[in-house]
């Protein structure tokens, strides 16, 4: 079918991905692109145990995700690709060359980041990286759950006061 979502989410596989997006989009598989998880069997078991049995998780580092991207597109099921950070997604986008849409689903607070949305906090370098992705022709928007407002990348580039809550 297709990849329904290319998502940046520092929690990787969690409730919003599996249930919030996974159920309404009838997702059959998730490609978890993370160089660290891809080489750790125990981490993979951790994520595998949380998803329903009818949902497959494919673990990949960036190079193998680039190599296998066509097979994801040709899968008969609908899928989600999730990466933990902007750098990982950017390397995937640049390696594949045909990804035209990236969803910023959750980049939470840590030292050096400033608030952009209640669920998006960025360093200046990260904001610049998103801007460069956008300038390269990739539509970058933020949206944590399917019925939330889609925020354009231009709004993410401006630091603002934090909203109340993040799921």
């Amino acid at each position: 079918m297709s990849i329904a979502l290319y998502r940046i989410d520092d929690r990787l596989i969690h409730g919003q991905v599996v249930v919030g997006w996974g159920q309404p989009l009838n997702i059959g598989f998730i490609v978890l692109v993370d160089d660290n998880v891809a080489c750790c069997d125990w981490e993979q078991d951790l994520y595998r145990m949380g998803v329903p049995p009818e949902m497959e998780i494919i673990f990949a580092d960036v190079p193998s995700a680039v190599t296998n991207h066509d097979s994801y597109l040709n899968d008969s099921r609908r899928g989600i690709v999730v990466a933990p950070d902007i750098d990982t997604m950017r390397r995937l986008v640049e390696g594949v060359g045909t990804i035209r849409y990236v969803n910023v689903g959750g980049i939470h607070h840590r030292a050096g980041r400033t608030p952009r949305l209640r669920y998006v906090f960025l360093t200046q370098d990260e904001a610049n990286s998103l801007a460069e992705l956008s300038e390269a022709g990739v539509q970058v928007t933020a949206q944590d759950v399917p019925n939330a407002r889609q925020t354009q990348v231009s709004e993410l580039l401006v630091s603002k006061a934090p909203e109340e809550r993040s799921a």
Binding site: G15, V19, G50
Partner: protein
């Protein structure tokens, strides 16, 4: 945690478990436990609001350590709190996790105060599972279990 009922006779209990999960659900569940049993203080509450997976794990570890708690209740099997506790269990085999916890689960747990918390958690999980029932002729016949994520 306060009770809506007879505050003058309320007895505080040392926390025996942590309830963690999405949004205000942990707080709401424990508030409901308190309204019904006066035993809300059996639980510590941690929400995943605005936290990275690592931050959630740090908070859970800190709370468990401070109060010597080794039982955790979470809401979703695929939730970030569940993942965090599972990660903690990698290095601590004494921890017990009940995921998919509901109000009945927590109520059963607080009334298992005379047993080891780990044993009480296992009993509570069974009781909680048994309270999930669909009533009504229009309710479709159940299909084989298919995890909820």
């Amino acid at each position: 945690m306060t009770s809506n009922e007879d505050d003058s006779t309320e007895t505080k209990h040392a926390p025996r478990a942590i309830v963690a999960g999405h949004g205000s659900l942990p707080e709401g569940l424990v508030n409901a436990v308190d309204c019904i049993s006066g035993r809300g203080s059996d639980f510590l509450v941690i929400s995943n609001f605005g936290l990275t997976g690592g931050d959630i794990e740090d908070r859970l570890r800190a709370a468990a350590s401070e109060f010597d708690v080794r039982v955790f209740f979470t809401d979703l099997p695929a939730g970030s709190a569940t993942i965090a506790v599972r990660r903690m269990m990698r290095t601590d085999s004494n921890l017990v996790l009940v995921t998919g916890a509901n109000l009945s689960t927590l109520l059963e747990f607080v009334f298992q105060s005379d047993v080891d918390p780990a044993e009480g958690a296992r009993t509570a999980a069974e009781k909680g599972r048994g309270t999930l029932v669909a009533f009504g002729d229009a309710a479709p016949k159940p299909t084989p279990a298919s995890g909820d994520g």
